[in-house]
Amino acid sequence: MGQIITIKRLRHWGVLLWLLILLFGRGGAVWGEEVPEYKLKAAYLYNFSTFTTWPDQGKSHFEFCVYGKSPFGAALDHIRGKRTGSLPIKVRTTQTLEGVAGCQLIYIAPSAINKLGQVLGSVAQYPVLTVSDNPGGLERGVMINMVTVKGRITFEVNLAEVERHGLKMSSKLLRLAKRIIH
């Protein structure tokens, strides 16, 4: 019987130990050593906007749009209040083609990738930077496509589309692109 009592006591301490551990911690932050995919992609999107120049449209805000279900969670919260060029960034999500009007940057979420053609069609006449992370996105007319290779995120650029929409990309951005199609 003595042995059984010892086991029970151990368990008791184990539970207490967990309770102690659970008492700690608050605040907010990112996950461990590897960065979650969409936190990293949010930072990429921000960088893309800072290395691209738009023709002057006389706007008071930079409209940063996500088309479809946003995969970013709260990661885009950190973009709000930042500036690209001289304009403060406004982030919004839209599920409709009408909602695309006014966007300077559109990220087409994986959930809406089967509507990619329609989204691109609706902004064909406007200076809008289009971004996706879908295999074959570039060939379908997206300007920047993010690709995950060996656990790291890289991107490819469809320069023909960029130029056709009247946007300019810095040479630094183009130098870092893994693939450019003209």
Binding site: R11, G32, E33, A43, K115
Partner: protein, 694 residues
């Protein structure tokens, strides 16, 4: 004295945890301060490997990553699976082989795969071959666990759930690595992996060589009532390679377990003689083109597998009897002298599995994503050898040293035979609206030996609010009878075991830091295959329902806490698996207490393993006369705590130390009544390891 020691442990943890609290938090805002060059250096953690996040997947899915494996100090896949809600891994009497149970069902109803290849042998109903001892984790990239029926996609044997272990391939060997580990019970491992690019081709290979003496548990009484220590050593060799170019991939693997000491025979007597071995060769060719034509993607695969298994000099089915009284299990030997060997039953089998499968993904209809595919499987048990030293009545012949070949006769454990299987599957993911997605699918399997089966599935995923995701799922599934089960049926045609499952799931991420999930499940199984009246028959029904609760909390950048709790409520009939706990819980904490140091502590609590009355010892032949009519008490709970510290000394060197069963709990695994006092699990033990990356 003991009391003081545990207090000091508790105080120590308290102190360390308070240090964690004192560290200044960083925020994901930092990412936005990094340049593009710096961002490109960061390693990304992919949520699913598909475009769906797990909470939106049309199934209850858990993905275990390399990061989880390393942080928790798991050295074998069997250890890390215990962290999945609803999953309990128990160790079977024969060789302490890990048996994966999902949601209170029988392990036979689990489909266990490595890179999409079932680990099941044609001769057995188990999800793995007889000498499977889990799998070393060094080559593992991730493990996907689907709780719930998988037959609509994967075909046979996926009634309770699917475990798919995915090894490293192109892109996932990021750095060449060699490593070594030593630990208690004379356990030693070395491993290495290398990835390279030659002429536009990604080539990689990995090896892992391990051996252990096992934890040598002391058994109070075997079936004969004898006390003793059983040996559970084994050796493992794991070689894997791949080649990838553009849309093509070739994978070739060789694995071998040898000198697998089984400890007990099939009836519960000590078997110190058997040293089994199993070899597996797998070669697969894969083609994937997501844009083969407008709106069409295609996947194709061709696989070949050869599996050979041998029981060596064993099995020894009963211990030798040399003198009277000739009471069971001893039988008086006929003329020729005393039995000096016991009952010997040597079994060898070889099988090959060939599988071709082609599927297409069609996205041409708006709001639909359709996959259609089919395949052919050729399963061939091409060699069976069976040598025994006893006659048809079970009496040892002479002194037991001469063996009779019973291969190819009705007495053999299996017969050489072939099963062919053709299948078709269709699945459609239909986006009904911005917030509702319906997945409907079905698979039709046509077997050459027992007919056909159609298994549908339906899943509704509803983004109820911004944060809350609700899933309602229904699925049907089956387990195909094994060759041995089919052989040992006389009066009827054995049908597959079938199951129907309903699940309701909720995922609620309160914030980036906190997530809750809950799953309710209900299984109904029919035609469960049982040994009864001297043959295998489709027996009774079994149902189980239950709930899984999960939480993940990341209060700080460097601190993560995971927990889950499962309650199973099985029908209390003869089909209930009393190895399965009514309740179990898991709690894990990862803390990076200094930039180069990480610490993990985790606990498994296995509770309420109530015995079936059939597991009381009413048979006076079992456990010797000492344990006649023993009423076995319900098992005490297991409370297993592990702790691991990992130190990234430099970009090249990494060290880790781990203590398993930190509290030295007297943990037991439940087993049948032939071993009345159950199977002791390892006491406190430890390992250290070093890795060098280059």
């Amino acid at each position: 004295m003991k009391k003081i020691r545990y207090w000091s442990v508790a105080v120590g943890f308290y102190w360390m945890a308070s240090l964690a609290y004192a560290n200044s938090p960083t925020s994901s805002d930092e990412l936005f301060e990094l340049s593009l060059d710096q961002l490109m250096q960061l390693e990304v953690k992919i949520a699913t490997g598909t475009q769906k996040t797990l909470s939106k997947a049309p199934a209850s899915v858990t993905v275990i990553t390399q990061d989880d494996i390393q942080k928790t100090g798991a050295t074998n896949i069997a250890e890390i699976l215990e962290s999945v809600p609803g999953v309990h891994v128990r160790f079977n009497r024969a060789s302490y082989s890990p048996f994966i149970h999902i949601r209170g069902t029988n392990t036979n109803q689990v489909l266990l795969m490595v890179n999409g290849i079932s680990m099941r042998s044609l001769t057995s109903a188990w999800p793995q071959d007889f000498f499977w001892k889990g799998m070393p984790v060094s080559a593992v990239e991730r493990v996907e666990v689907i709780r719930g029926p998988g037959s609509a996609l994967y075909g046979a044997n996926a009634s309770a759930g699917v475990v798919n272990i995915i090894t490293k391939s192109a892109g996932s060997i990021q750095q060449n690595e060699v490593g070594a580990r030593v630990g208690s019970f004379d356990t030693r491992s070395i491993w290495g992996q290398q990835g390279t690019n030659v002429a536009g081709m990604d080539i990689g290979m990995s090896f892992d060589i391990s051996q252990t003496d096992g934890h040598s548990p002391y058994i109070v009484a075997d079936r004969a009532g004898t006390a003793g220590t059983v040996s559970l050593g084994y050796k493992n060799l794991d070689l894997r390679s791949y080649m990838t170019r553009d849309d093509w991939r070739i994978q070739a693997d060789y694995t071998k377990n040898s000198d697998v000491e089984v400890g007990f025979d099939g009836s519960g007597y000590f078997d110190p003689l058997t040293k089994g071995s199993v070899e597996r060769v797998h070669v697969g060719g894969f083609y994937n083109n997501p844009n083969i034509a407008p709106n069409w993607g295609v996947d194709a695969e061709l696989r070949y597998q050869d599996l050979s298994s041998s029981s060596g000099d064993g099995y020894r089915q009963e211990p030798p009897c040399q003198e009277p009284p000739w009471e069971p299990p001893c039988q008086e030997p006929p003329t020729g002298g005393a039995d000096v060997t016991g009952k010997i039953d040597q079994q060898l089998s070889s099988e090959r599995h060939i599988n071709i499968e082609v599927s297409g993904l069609f996205t041409g209809f708006q709001d639909h994503e359709m996959r259609i595919g089919g395949g052919h499987k050729w399963l061939n048990l091409y060699e069976v050898q069976n040598l025994v030293n006893y006659d048809a009545s079970g009496t040892v012949i002479g002194d037991g040293t001469s063996l009779t070949n019973i291969s190819g006769t009705s007495r053999a454990f299996a017969l050489e035979s072939t099963r062919k299987l053709k299948y078709l599957f269709l699945q459609d993911i239909w986006t009904l609206s911005d917030s509702v997605e319906l997945t409907a699918g079905a698979r039709f399997d046509d077997y050459s030996d027992f007919g056909n089966t159609l298994n549908p599935r339906l899943a509704l995923v509803w983004n109820t609010t911004d944060k809350l995701t609700t899933k309602l799922m229904y699925g049907e599934a089956y387990r195909a009878p094994s060759f041995v089960e089919i052989k040992n049926t006389t009066t009827s045609v054995l049908a597959p075991e079938t199951s129907k499952t309903v699940e309701l799931g909720f995922t609620y991420p309160v914030s980036d830091q906190l997530l809750f999930a809950m799953n309710l499940f209900k299984y109904e199984m029919e035609g469960i295959i049982k040994w009864s009246s001297g043959q295998y028959q489709n027996g009774s029904e079994f149902g189980v329902n239950g709930i899984e609760l999960e939480a993940q909390w990341q209060p700080r950048d460097d601190l993560r806490i995971f927990g889950n709790f499962t309650v199973r409520n099985p029908d209390d009939n003869t089909e209930r698996n009393d190895y399965e706990p009514y309740k179990d819980a898991y709690l894990r904490l990862d803390w990076r207490f200094k930039p180069a140091w990480s610490w993990n502590i985790q606990t498994n609590w296995i509770a309420e393993r109530n015995r079936s009355t059939s597991n009381d010892n009413t048979d006076d032949k079992i456990g010797g006369t000492t344990y006649d009519n023993l009423v076995r008490p319900d098992l005490d709970d297991n409370f297993l705590m592990n702790s691991t510290v990992r130190y990234h000394y430099s970009n090249q060197w990494e060290f880790a130390a781990s203590v398993r069963n930190l509290l030295d709990d007297d943990a037991f695994e439940s087993t049948g009544r032939t071993i009345p006092f159950d199977l002791p699990l390892p006491k406190r033990n430890l390992f250290i390891e070093a890795r060098y990356k280059f």
